[in-house]
Amino acid sequence: MKLITAVIRPEKLPNVKEALFKIGVTGITLSRVSGHGGEREVLEHYRGTQVRLEFHEKVKLEIAVSEAFLERTVKAISSAARSGEVGDGKIFVQSLEQVIRIRTGENDADALTPVGTPKEGY
């Protein structure tokens, strides 16, 4: 199994979500992060003080998938999140040794199958 971590623009989240749902990926964990990369700094002014915002708001998605789903998931995210401007973000792939579904104690690929879909893990 793999853990896919994607850092994307917040405004692209709806697109990415739809793209993931279309290919059948519904297990997602999201968080709000700040990213620094090639984007220009934003300047703010408060009274006599200048403030540089070197970090931009991003959304991080963490998705555990079975090997079989890896490529299509990466592709889905990557095309749905692209604007073509600097700052679109990155996708990281790591290997995952074990997954446990807390509710049932199920292990590994079984744990990745959503409720009521006794299909092959994705």
């Binding site: 989240l13 749902f21 279309k22 009521g116 879909t117």
Partner: protein
């Protein structure tokens, strides 16, 4: 409004403060200055209820902030409907008996813009009856809202609405009649309560305590996490309460005169000193002086000075603020020993503060400062007043405890009073109001009310659907 009414038992119809010595013979006229004052005072008292919403809402958790605030706001709606229709008539209607005012003023029938309030001909004021009615309505709004602080985090919103509606008509309105109407029996008994220590604060504090006993405690999860989610909101609420309280206390004189001035200065002094006293208690106990403590202390000081504000001098006012703060602080420390889960300490603040204030009114009332000869306490040579005050306190406690218990039991039987455990753990904002107090907007979808439309999330495969 006690300054006016006190005149009565002594058979005096002349009023305090200046140009008001009309006899019954002279046609009563509206005084523009008094009317201006009472109009603005009424607006100030209205603002107290949103102030309370912030005071309570800031103390609540983020996931129940809206429910907590709505419990105050909805009181404006409910009482704005019921008070003109029936509550006012029960409290200030015809003077046939000492226990309630009757039905002649139902739906404010007969009142016009030209009516001047005279409490059935017994007391002549110089303000329009409409203005008196609305000033009183603002009191009737905030009193049940005060109770809500005890009930947050688990009460059904519908049951709460029913409860405060019935409470305001069946408990508050009669009590207001007893204490403030010219023929109310506690009024006749000489109980001193200038601006509502008994009718408002003891009534709310006791009712809160009784109501939570029937409602039951919060789940241990929500109790554990019960840390104020936004203390600046608590301070905002305290500030708006304090600001409005000037209308509440000084306005109870129903005139812009020196007695209103005395009521006003005590409404600034007592809570200021109570704030200091509360912080000192914290330091003495080895804690840090806290912002929640400052806000709480100020509110307790405001509560305690309410019955006394026009009767006592400024130094007595400092004493009342300090004593009430210490008493209330001690009760708050002990609250975990109580069976009742009074979430935001309504009893400890309003109940205890109100009782202390009512009794100390009997101690410190001083006609040499106020000029109100009927209002003498211990230090002015009238120790018996303390007994009278205790009677007032006792009757209020009894009536409110029995009345609230009855209402809560009936509502519990008819429709239930608690949300489910699951709704409680979700937080009442989402479960009772389908709203979140704070949104960052990125993770949710607005779907324009058209489910399945082109704007809504496209969900294609079956297994993606739930």
């Amino acid at each position: 409004m006690k300054a006016l009414k006190l005149a009565l038992p002594l058979g005096l119809l002349t009023l305090m403060g200046g140009a008001l010595a009309q006899t019954a013979a002279a046609a009563p006229v509206i005084d523009k200055g008094d009317t201006a004052f009472m109009l603005i005072a009424s607006a100030l008292v209205l603002l107290m209820t949103p102030g309370l919403a912030f005071f309570y809402g800031g103390l609540a958790r983020a996931k129940t902030v809206l429910n907590t605030m709505m419990m105050s706001f909805i009181a404006i709606g409910v009482v704005a409907l019921l008070w003109p229709l029936i509550g006012y008539s029960i409290a200030f209607g015809d003077l046939k008996n000492a226990f309630f005012g009757g039905f002649d003023k139902v739906a404010l029938s007969g009142l016009t813009a030209g009516s001047i309030w005279n409490n059935g001909g017994v007391i002549q004021t110089t303000i329009p009856t409409f203005v008196f009615m609305i000033f009183q309505m603002m009191f009737a709004v905030i009193t049940p809202a005060l109770i809500s602080g005890a009930l947050i985090d688990r009460m059904k919103f519908g049951s709460y609405i029913l409860f405060i509606g019935l409470w305001s008509v069946l408990i508050y309105a009669p009590l207001a009649h007893w204490v403030w109407s010219a023929n109310g029996w506690l009024f006749a008994r000489g109980v001193l309560d200038f601006a509502g220590g008994t009718v408002v604060h003891i009534a709310a504090g006791i009712s809160a305590l009784v109501a939570v006993l029937i409602l039951g405690p919060r789940s241990s999860g929500s109790q554990r996490a019960a840390v104020p989610h936004n203390i600046p909101f608590v301070l905002l609420g305290a500030a708006l309460l304090w600001f409005g309280w000037f209308g509440f206390n000084a306005g109870s004189e129903l005139a812009a005169d020196g007695v209103a001035g005395l009521a006003f200065i005590n409404t600034a002094i007592a809570p200021g000193v109570a704030m200091l006293a509360w912080l000192l208690c914290e330091v003495v106990r080895g804690q840090r002086p806290s912002a929640v403590g400052a806000a709480t202390g100020a509110v307790v000081g405001l509560v305690a000075i309410t019955p006394a504000c026009a009767y006592v001098g400024p130094v007595a006012s400092m004493a009342i603020g300090a004593i009430a703060a210490v008493c209330s602080f001690l009760v708050v420390q002990l609250k975990h020993r109580l069976a009742a889960d009074d979430a935001l300490d309504v009893f400890a603040c309003h109940g205890v503060g109100g009782i202390v204030g009512a009794i100390l009114t009997g101690v410190f009332a001083d006609s040499r400062v106020s000029g109100l000869t009927a209002a003498k306490g211990l230090i002015d040579g009238n120790p018996a007043q303390i007994v009278t005050q205790l009677v007032g306190v006792g009757v209020t406690i009894l009536f409110c405890a029995v009345g609230t218990a009855t209402l809560m039991f009936i509502i519990k039987a008819v429709m239930g009073v608690r949300v489910s455990a699951q709704e409680e753990s979700m937080g009442l904002d989402v479960s009772s109001h389908a709203e979140d107090g704070y949104n960052n907007g990125d993770f949710g979808y607005a779907t324009n009310g058209k489910s399945g439309s082109i704007d809504s999330p496209v969900i294609l495969s079956a297994n993606a659907n739930d």
